[in-house]
């Protein structure tokens, strides 16, 4: 569903992403993790077609994003960390607009249950300025899901959601994956990723440190303890070896 070959993004001389390659199959959920500045958001923006990569190729559902952007983008949805909405459009008008952009026939029949599922059906005539942050995020999600994308990217999807919203979001991600969508989630919330992701890609300094299932990356980074969780694996993968502790004098303090 998603195939990335030698993706490289430069900003002047700064290498944001360096020769990144990986692929995701239908039904897989990939957790994209890494410290701040690792290149996660840049990678997602390249994969969504927002910024062109400097080098490399990206295929979405078999369509080359550079050569067939329309066919590729028709299949994907991108949810940035901050919901992007148009101030002047009501909830329902947002969906009407998106339906035309993605050419969704009978969109009303899809939009109504979608709004109900996201619990914003009663807000259909309200403007984004009248919605809470969580509601705005739900509206952005409704807009992104209206055209039934087969590839979904989430950038920090849980920011601003309440505990119930977090639970619903996790369920929704898993539901889409079970329906055959390929999903990438970029987040610093490692416990969330551990719950919903089938695969992990750890980036550092724009480069791939490791890619695989939790079991596979555990094997590589937790030789001494096979039961290491994602957080421990993350630290071992991204942090330089710790400085050995100073030698403590054996002479007891008096």
């Amino acid at each position: 569903m998603i195939q990335v070959e030698a993706l490289t993004k430069l900003y002047g001389e700064f290498v944001a992403v360096n020769a990144l390659s990986f692929s995701i199959q239908a039904g897989e959920v990939l957790g994209l993790v890494g410290p701040n500045g690792a290149g996660k958001t840049t990678t997602l923006r390249c994969l969504a077609g927002i910024i062109p990569p400097t080098r490399g190729r990206i295929h979405v559902v078999g369509h080359d994003l550079a050569l067939s952007p329309i066919a590729a983008k028709q299949q994907l949805a991108f949810f940035p960390d901050e919901p992007r909405l148009f101030d002047y459009l009501t909830v329902w008008q947002h969906l009407n607009f998106v339906a035309r952009i993605y050419q969704v026939a009978n969109w009303e029949h899809l939009a109504t249950p979608l709004l109900e599922e996201l619990e914003i059906a009663d807000k259909r005539d309200q403007l984004p300025g009248e919605l809470s942050r969580g509601m705005k995020q739900k509206l952005a999600i409704a807009c992104g899901l209206l055209h039934s994308p087969r590839v979904i990217y989430f950038d920090e999807p849980l920011t601003g959601l309440d505990p119930l919203g977090i639970r619903r979001m996790k369920d929704s991600i898993l539901k889409r994956a079970r329906a055959g969508a390929a999903i990438i989630i970029s987040s610093h919330l490692l416990h969330l990723l551990e719950e919903v992701c089938s695969h992990f890609l750890i980036l550092k300094g724009g480069q791939k440190v490791i890619h695989g299932t939790l079991g596979e990356i555990r094997l590589q980074f937790s030789e001494q303890s096979g039961a290491a969780n994602l957080e421990e694996v993350f630290f071992r993968a991204t942090i330089e070896p710790p400085i050995p502790p100073p030698i403590v004098s054996e002479t007891p303090h008096t």
């Binding site: 910024i51 590729a72 991108f78 101030d87 002047y88 009407n96 035309r100």
Partner: protein
Amino acid sequence: MISALCYLQYHSVRNRLLARFRRLKQPKYLAGAVVGGVYFYFYFFRWMFAGRGRHSLAAGAATPLDPQLYELLGAFLLFVVVLLAWVLPHQRAALAFTEAEVAFLFPAPITRRGLIQFKLLRSQAGIFLTTVLLAFLTNRFGIGGKMVIHLAGWWLMLSLLNLHFLGSSFALTALMDRGLAHWKRRLGVLAVVLAGVGVVVAWAVRALPPLTADRLVDLDAILDYARQVLVSGPLPYLLYPFRLVVRPYLAANPLDFLVALGPVLLLLVAHYWWVMRADVAFEEGSVEAARKLAEKVAALRSGKWSGGGRKIKSKRAPFALASIGPRPVALLWKNLLGAGQAFTLRLWITLAAIGVGVSFGLHGASAESSWRLVAGSIAGMMGIMLLMMGPQIIRQDFRQDLPQSDLLKVYPLRGWQVALGEILAPAVILTGVQWLLLLVAAGGFWRAGIDLSSALLLAMTVGAAILLPMFNVISLLIPNAAVLLFPGWFQTGKDAPQGIEATGQRLIFALGQLLALVVALVPAGGVFVGILLLFKFWFANYAGSLVLAVPIAAAAATVVLTAEAGLGIMLLGWLFERLDISAEPAA
């Protein structure tokens, strides 16, 4: 403690300036700074110290009475400003802090006095900037020379006003806390003012020759009367404190300035003491003010030019948008919805009032003109103005959607489709309004006794109507291309170009836009003139043939404009696809 606050202020200003200087490494910002610098030099700086009577129109025409008149006029204006500060406010006192300052300073062990001192210190940055700007303006357009005196004079006035505003806001809050209603306070202030006005009127009636009906139509007589009221009688005494404040600015020489300085310094000290001793809780109001400021800044950063102040209302869609059809129409639909926010009842009332006012003016200026001709002339003038300024006024295109470029890029649309969709709304709005004005103008000129046959008027109207849509698209392409080429120049909020650099960028942009428009219109203009010449060559009755020639020439020119517009939209789409707003440096 105040040293920590000084440290904060010093480093905030310093770092901001350094960031702006660093941005000058980029040619586009450097070019803006250079052009802006040249503009400011030729327009303001060279007048700074060059007054000395040479460029001073006002000084040259001075009479012995003028200094006193200026002083009283200045004092009167100052009085009005101060009066408004006592009448208008209806909120609690609030010191203008940012949200970060509220978060750091309010919980910190800093006294109220420390916070007020910090606020006063920080306001000096704005006062210095305003002082320099006002000194430039007054030296450029008013009394030349004496730049140092003017700088000092403006600084004294602004600093005193700043302290007075703060003091009055504290005093009003104290009155509010004691349960005094706003209307009672306003009534009290206005009663005092009315008492003063009564004294002046009583004196004028007794001491000055009456303003009889025949003198009321003589502007000079009215001005002379006003001058006498201002410079003699009780008014100069009533305005005495305000005269003291403007006196340093109007000092003729350094010695006069020093003499005038003493009383103003005393007033400054008295105001400082008043503000420091005021025991009023300003924290609550400041937190609210900081929140509003943060909202405004956030709105500006996300490209909302209104600064988030105006409440957006949901509007009915301009037309039903089917889910299947050309995708750019979705952007047209969305932007028309956005534009609907601007077309409020207030706007229509304002436009109607302007139209009626101008009509009366024009009709009065020429008694022979019929109302129909006046209406036609106004519509024609407005149409021409809209042709030139419309693309700058109606901005429901990339200029509005630049902050949403990430969202637009995810959509399954080619770059040219996005460009077309974005351009359509302002083009449709402009064309619609222009067609309406054209119709009114044609109706006004129709058989109105002007030297233009009805047939030719109709031909010109049809020709203009054919040309307008593509002309508008071409005009709109230029500012949109500029936004995509130089997104940094169109950033808003903290990262926006400011000061000299912004002025320079605007000048370059205006010049570039004019040049690009002229270049774009040359081929179409050539075709238009060529066809008219062909008709002249072929038809013996050239004047008669114009009825046919004008619409045909307009249609041919429109074909050329359409081809140019098509190319322009392709180029705009290509620019949009290459746009990466995140690569723009912040300042």
